[in-house]
Symmetry: C2
Subunit: 389 residues, 2 copies
């Protein structure tokens, strides 16, 4: 186990109807706030009405900035920064999934910063302060509601880049599993894949003696797998959603990173895919992750066999551990298919024309590598994209 | 799953040699502090020297209050409160195990309070503020290093009572598994039993649909069981201690309480035992917990069977689940014995003379009940003590 520091101050308020208290919680930070969200879905579901009623009841004045899209755009972030500055808004309430929350976080660190907010995403500067951000989560997936990360897409060059900083922990997040009932099935599947990818990026590590966190990750994966199937059968199964929603948060709040190095190559390769083709992050992951696994599993067959046996109940093949390892990858692919997700580029209608370009972008033209479990050079990244066809 | 609120702000600094930075961390809170510890063990191990060197290097002036004993006493807490007030100390650094940390927490909430600090432990008042407290953990067991609880014993009447409050989260805790190398074997066993009890108190619940936390608790239990045996073989096994130490913290930081009711009858019954006989808390738990399980398992055979199968790898007896449930209890008892712990009152040299008195104290003479999984009246508590003989 590696030495580590762990601290996560985000307050989670979880359960049926909890969003009725969002006004009281937000009022601890400011009386004039930005309400940030995507499109009409929160209006159709009644969530918008419940939240604005709570804000008004707590004496909070709010300005709205809607229109956040999946793979949230830098231009809208800049608009939000301008709005907050011009109107003296002191808090940002994000209502939505990971894209809305990431966009709100970007606005938060952009407001007190003199330079351009993209500096934080291209590695030119680290955020030193932020406007406080709170969230009402509607899509269990990204884990941004209790994470210190944010991912933004810059339209020029279609660059999708992450920023990580302790400044990015939300002050609070409201998690009501009922808000997920109205999600389209495809989006449910994408969210499940994203949650599982967060767990697997942490699982595949070279750090030795990481038994506790291995087992905690396996516990989350088994819970998600079991309950995802229930949701596919019955989309308003509260109990199943509660398991998935809380798992999605725990998956990415960095408890499960303690004492170990993660990999993250699949996430970064996927970012190139969704930046160019604008497919859902989860759908990109269900294509890239199994391809990555197939490419690297021989690097540590024991770890892949443990994954197969403990997570997917594969019978261990003691005299041929590689077979158990491969069976784990097959089961993961089958599970993604069951969720209605693409498991190849072809499934997603993506051809081979830009694979070389994506491999270049992921590795700065070959100057950088991806991943820690196995360091991938430009050729490796290209090979994985090719194998995912 | 029940609705819940979860927030734990404690900063964990974990790994080899981390205590070298304790001065810098403490200096964020005050320049004049109280250094609180037990006896000579931290001097013999060299930890005292390393910590005081770090404090001095960071320009911190410290006064010392040592002499904390297992089942920490109210009189010493009062002495600490006096010391802090008289000398204007602004921070308390606890170096030790759960007793030292609990004592430091009590001093912390006592200093700014006008009344008697015991008010917080007998339910007369709730703490509203505290002097900040930091810890350097030396015994993985109590989980107090990241919990919101403290347990103090009042000498008059031998009353051992808990206080729980968000005020009681330490600001930071340093966890270096190396500090546990010098623990006597018996104390190691007691610590393991305490950690497992914290997990099992949470596990045995009537709340339905708590799959994620069930699995996370099982993950912690399996990790502790596997690594405890390694430590029994080799007391300076860093990797095994790292697993146990981090498990002990995660066991009690309230992530594993989210969305469910715990039981806690065994803990409270044990408090009566150790208050009168002054045995180690862990040794009391290894006696009381299996006796409690045997007394209540028929209340939810499925849950006890799940525990047996998932934690102790008992083969499930599908046509007679009670048998699997009982086998789980047997394996737990066998494991405690393997650790060198008593599993009956007789093992601990305790006779039956005061069982009735303990049952009275645990239930206020029959006016109160104990536990949530099964509500135990005075007669139940007495029966369990009798069955533990």
């Amino acid at each position: 186990m590696d030495n580590f520091v762990f601290q996560n101050p985000t307050k989670i308020i979880f359960g049926r109807g909890v969003e009725a208290d969002v006004g009281d919680e937000a009022a601890k930070y400011a009386k004039k706030i930005l309400l940030h969200y995507g499109g009409g879905s929160i209006k159709n579901s009644g969530l918008y009405r419940r939240i604005t009623a709570s804000l008004t009841k707590s004496g909070i004045e709010y300005m709205e900035l809607s229109g956040v899209k999946p793979n949230p755009r830098l231009s809208l972030v800049r608009e939000g920064i301008g709005l907050c500055r011009k109107n003296g808004l002191g808090f940002i309430l994000a209502v939505g999934g990971g894209s809305v929350i990431d966009s709100a976080k970007a606005i938060g660190i952009g407001v007190p910063y003199e330079g351009d907010v993209w500096d934080f995403y291209c590695g030119k500067a680290d955020p030193k302060e932020t406007l406080p951000v709170g969230t009402v989560l509607t899509i269990p997936a990204a884990g941004s509601e209790m994470s210190c990360g944010s991912v933004i897409t810059k339209e020029e060059g279609l660059l999708k880049r992450p920023c990580n900083s302790t400044m990015l922990y939300p002050k609070f997040s409201f998690l009501n599993p009922e808000t997920a009932f109205t999600l389209p099935k495809y989006q449910v599947g994408c969210g499940i894949a994203d949650i599982m990818a967060h767990l697997m990026e942490r699982y595949f590590t070279n750090t030795k003696h990481v038994e506790l966190i291995d087992r905690l990750i396996e516990a989350c994966l088994k819970t998600v797998i079991q309950n995802a199937s229930k949701i596919m059968d019955k989309k308003d199964d509260y109990d199943a959603w509660a398991e998935v929603m809380w798992s999605g948060t725990v998956a990415h709040n960095d408890l499960l990173s303690t004492g170990r190095e993660g990999d993250w190559a699949s996430h970064n390769m996927e970012h190139e895919l969704s930046a160019i083709y604008d497919i859902a992050h989860g759908a990109g992951l269900s294509i890239v992750f199994p391809a990555w696994m197939q490419y690297v599993y021989k690097h540590d067959v024991s770890r892949f066999a443990q994954f197969a046996v403990r997570v997917f109940n594969v019978e261990h093949t003691f005299f041929d551990p590689e077979e158990a390892a491969r069976e784990g990858i097959r089961r993961l692919k089958a599970f993604f298919s069951l969720l209605g997700l693409p498991v190849s580029l072809k499934d997603a209608g993506i051809g081979g024309e830009r694979l070389s370009e994506m491999a270049d972008k992921a590795t700065e033209g070959g100057a950088a590598s991806q991943g820690f479990f196995v360091k991938l050079n430009r050729q490796d990244v290209y090979n994985i994209f090719v194998s995912a066809q």
